[in-house]
């Protein structure tokens, strides 16, 4: 279980994760905001289909790939939340663009 070690201060925004509405601090990354909601996993791997969640939180490991506002494979740890953002798990390979 993840929990915040300090109470969030300042303004918040609403994001949507797999149909769930989350009210989160406005300055957080998508990865932190979703981890705090204990999502279980945030993507499945391309090669073996294993379930994964954000790991390094600094843009290196690519474990946090998610679909954000309709764009697949975005690094959730490098993306700041925004009001109304739609976030989904990245399931395996992204589609080839049209």
């Amino acid at each position: 279980m993840y929990r915040r070690i300090t109470d969030p201060k300042g303004s918040t925004v609403a994001i949507h994760f797999e149909g769930q509405r989350l009210q989160v601090p406005a300055n957080e990354t998508v990865a932190a905001a979703i981890l705090a909601a204990n999502p279980g996993y945030t993507r499945t791997t391309v090669v073996s289909g294993d379930k994964r969640a954000p790991y390094c939180m600094m843009g290196t490991c690519f474990e946090c790939l998610m679909e954000i506002d309709g764009v697949q494979n975005r690094q959730a740890c490098m993306t700041t939340v925004a009001d109304g953002m739609l976030v989904k798990r990245q399931m395996g390979k992204r589609e080839m663009p049209e």
Binding site: V47, N73, R94, E95, P97, E98
Partner: protein, 372 residues
Amino acid sequence: MVVGGGLFGPATAYGLRQQGLDTVVLDDGDDVLRAARGNFGLVWVQSKGIGMHRYHAWSRESAHLFADFAAELKEASGADIAHRNDGGMHLLLGENEREQRQRDMDIMRQQAGADGFECEIIEREEVEKMLPGVRLGDDVVGASFSKHDGDVNPLKLLRAINGSFQHMGGRYRSDCRVENIRHDGSAFIAETKNGSFTAPKIVLACGHGITKLAPMVGLDTPIVPQRGQVLVTERAEPVLGMALGTVRQTDEGTVQIGNTEEEADFNDGTTLDAGQAMARRAVTIFPQLAGLRLIRTWGCIRVLTPDKCAIYDESEQYPGAYVATSHSGVTLAAVNARHTAKWIATGETPPGFEEFSAKRFKTEGSHVSAHH
């Protein structure tokens, strides 16, 4: 003993082990130039050997041996190298590229004579049929297609060869850069900072390291560095279902975009200009790629002979000392494991093998060509 832990060395060493020879591979450290870890992964025949048909036929033979080789490696090492051999295309942008490719193919068909050269220009409509679900850019006029071409995952190939070699009892020593080679009258002695190694036969297959070592065994091997840069995208669902010359989608979904041919001495860095040019061409061929993110780029130093064809030599001064090198370590891995190893183990050579000697540069040095 085999000097070099890239692809030429281990493939040959694996074959030597199959021939029953007690074999050790002497490798350098991780921080040296590693052509075998930066390449494109093609098992490529159609453009190989312009000016030297023997090299074309050698590449083609290796491509034919690859399916069995891959199966053998999987059994010994457990690693699947993702070998595809259902043909390959080099996509052509505009009439100039088509004409240039046609001219090269005419030369290769003529030099092949009765041995044959199987590659054809196909029209855009044919390309579309061969790549279902892919949108071609407007400037794609067609492609040269060869049924002999294919590809592998090159890193898995390297791991599979090394794993199989060691599984069969071959020995591998890393951090053993050979500094000096002596011959004591009965055997070669290779001196490294981690000890000396002695064997009746020595194979130099260490890329640019050959330049320093070959003269110690009486061989002259003229090779030069050439840089190739590659761009790699994020993984996406596989749609490019065939080996392609400069835009290849791997078994795991990444799209590799290649590759430059630059003179940069031994600088294996990357440049923005080259990256832009490669990306522009890739997007012109496949507009869909514009929506994929690039996640990596690298430069790697090829081991290039003056005519871009392989060199295989045995020393006349020191019989038992061999050189084997080419920039096509992936394509030639299968034939090196079979025929090159047999040549070193038994002296038996395939017909016309002497054409691969570096002596060709002494007699024909005045018209060394630089086609690709």
